[in-house]
């Protein structure tokens, strides 16, 4: 009796969780199945079931014909570069705000940046567009229509969120650590690079992946600011792909899998650090 009650107690959460898991993953499994089905007919006749035969050539065709490879590499380098740049700038800023002795000034600056979280990105689309156009005069060559038109706003766009998370994390670092470092003769830059940054790694990893996901999936700016096919990023490419190949759901599904894969891999590898980072940083904010 007690045995069954105990095992009931043990299995009940798992039943609930597995149910939740199925709900969460089912659409994704549907894409996986569809991506290896032969054609629309095969998908339409058995939309949500297991494929009867496997057609892995869909992946090859999506990669080659649909230029997924080009979009993929564009997205990969832009997302990585911007995430890294945001982190460097934001952690420097967060360090100055939380660890340097200008508390009043820093508090004001922090609030000032916090407001950025509330600014609706879509509302600023046009002003940013016009500003990027004007920047041609500053840089001597056009910004719009190049990857720079995405790199700058992506790097800037993630700043408020990143600063908030990193500041929260850095604030929780005990002051004794850096006092000891200063005693050892380190200057501010040394304290930042040798002491604070290594401790902040979990939070850095977390904001990296969150920003990476954001950049990887960003659609509206990429759609507006880039007009040449070879420069497009994956989300824009995927929507174009849908408009063009709305007759070929199987290839489209293969394309979707390509668009999810890298982020999944990064998440799986860095999972532990992300959790740590969220625990230590964002949570106490």
């Amino acid at each position: 009796m007690t045995m069954t009650l105990r095992s009931m107690k043990k299995t009940a959460p798992h039943i609930l969780l597995l149910g939740f898991l199925i709900v969460t993953l089912y659409p994704f499994i549907f894409v996986l199945f569809s991506s290896v089905k032969s054609d629309n007919q095969a998908i339409a006749s058995n939309p949500f079931g297991f494929p009867s035969s496997f057609h892995f050539e869909n992946y090859y065709e999506a990669w080659v014909n649909a230029k997924i490879s080009v979009y993929f590499l564009n997205s990969l380098y832009i997302s990585t570069l911007c995430s890294v740049a945001t982190i460097i700038f934001a952690s420097m800023g967060a360090f100055a705000i939380t660890r340097m002795r200008y508390l009043k000034m820093s508090k004001g600056l922090y609030q000032f940046i916090l407001i950025g979280l509330l600014i609706p990105g879509n509302a600023l689309l046009l002003p940013i567009f016009i500003m990027l156009n004007k920047m041609e005069g500053v840089f001597g060559h056009p910004i719009l229509g190049t990857h720079m038109a995405l790199i700058l706003p992506y790097t800037a766009g993630a700043i408020p969120f990143t600063v908030i998370i990193l500041s929260a994390f850095m604030r929780s670092i005990p002051g004794e650590i850096e006092e000891a470092a200063v005693m050892d003769g380190l200057r501010a830059k040394g304290v930042f690079w040798k002491i604070i940054m290594p401790i902040t790694v979990p939070a850095l990893v977390t904001v990296f992946i969150i920003n990476f996901i954001g950049n990887w999936n960003e659609f509206i700016l990429a759609n507006f600011f880039i007009s040449t096919d070879e420069l497009r990023t994956l989300p824009v490419g995927m929507v174009g792909f849908r408009d063009i190949y709305n007759t070929n759901y199987a290839q489209m599904s293969a394309g979707i899998v390509f668009s999810i894969l890298p982020v999944m891999i990064i998440y799986a590898v860095l999972q532990k650090q992300i959790i740590e980072g969220l625990t230590a940083g964002g949570v106490k904010g």
């Binding site: 380098y77 570069l81 890294v84 740049a85 460097i88 420097m92 046009l126 567009f129 016009i130 156009n133 060559h141 056009p142 719009l144 229509g145 190049t146 990857h147 720079m148 790199i151 380190l186 200057r187 830059k189 040394g190 930042f192 690079w193 040798k194 759609n223 507006f224 880039i226 007009s227 040449t228 096919d229 070879e230 420069l231 174009g240 408009d243 063009i244 190949y245 709305n246 007759t247």
Partner: protein
Amino acid sequence: MKKSVLVSSLSLVLATTTVLSTAGAATKTDTIVIRHTQLGEAKQQRLNILKDVLARVSKEVPGVKYKLDGVDSDVNRKEKLRSEMVVNKAPAIFDLFGGTDTQLYVEANRLLDLTPILKELGLSNKFISLDEFKVNGKVYGLPIGGYQEGYFYNKDYFKAHNLSVPKTLSELESLAATIKKDGKTPFAQASKAAWVPLMTANTLWSRYAGPDITNGFTTGKTKWNSTQMVAAFTKYQDWVKKGYFKQGELGLDYAEQRNQLIRGEAIMMYDGSWASSVFSDPKQAGSLTNKVGYFALPSVSGGKGSQTAVNGGFSNGYGFSSKVKNNKQQYAFVKSFIKNMYNDEMQIRGLEADGVLPSMKVSSSKLANAKVSGLVKEIIEVGNKASGAFPAFDSLVQPDVNTALSEGIQKLIAGKTTPKAMLDAVQKAQNAANSNEDF
């Protein structure tokens, strides 16, 4: 070390950014960009035509590099080109719509005046109609083809059930009733984008209230909520209530509409002639290939004005940036482009390959010899029999009115409003737009 790490890592980031982005710089000033909308299998032939034209142009005007840039038509029209126009960064050659779009860009001096080029090339009188691209008597764009709208239908089904092409609206309705009884959907439709159901509605109201009524809305001469307009939309609502359209079609993308016809679940479909090429391609149309017929929306007894006019026109084509004028080579390129794109040969090619109706006065003997599908012949036939054509409403009314009407028709389909209430709201938007309100 400490300083150098910071500085070098920063400069590394900046350097990579600059190098990578300049390496990817899209447009050098001496490269001509051609924005087209010929994407996907269905438009492959049209893209080939464009490529052939450009090959000839670059022979005539050597030394000018060009680049093709394909963007989805709707995205280009509503977002891309529009925002490029704001910063005056439109490509040299681009896909352009006539009517309100062209007027807006002309007002801001963004479009190249083509009148002198047409004169020079002897093309001034070669087009069937340039009205939609004319502003103050000058031409700012050239239609690539014409279109008209009508009913596509499943011929085999009509034969098997002894149905014939309707001559009056009541015949069309009894057809629909028969099809409905047979368990099929009479009219294929997918109304996530409101312009799709508005194709039917536009012609229906032109039957009830006369084809010219749409011209009067912006001047205030005619009213959206007049009796005949209400009658037209009441008829539309009647069809919705009787279940003549697929249930849940409000959530479906435009492409789904033809799939309903191809799958055999719907028997008729109101669409533009541009859809015709799908039905001669076995890869897209499957078992329905070459088994689709075409007829115009039939006459309404007691309707006003011509009952055979078709919704058709020449509203989509190419426009050119006004900046081209300052660059001799680019100007020569554009001239050569117009010469090689707009001629009998390319018009016939477009017709043969894709069923694009000519926008130019192609000689009738050449037209008769063109190898076209039976469906395209039927479409041309309907056009020839028509007493005239009227343009789609969206090239005649202001964007805000279009938005009000779009929301109205979707609400009507959803059963959330009545024809009268809906048209009152549209008229209200029309009044506001006409009064040139200060916002």
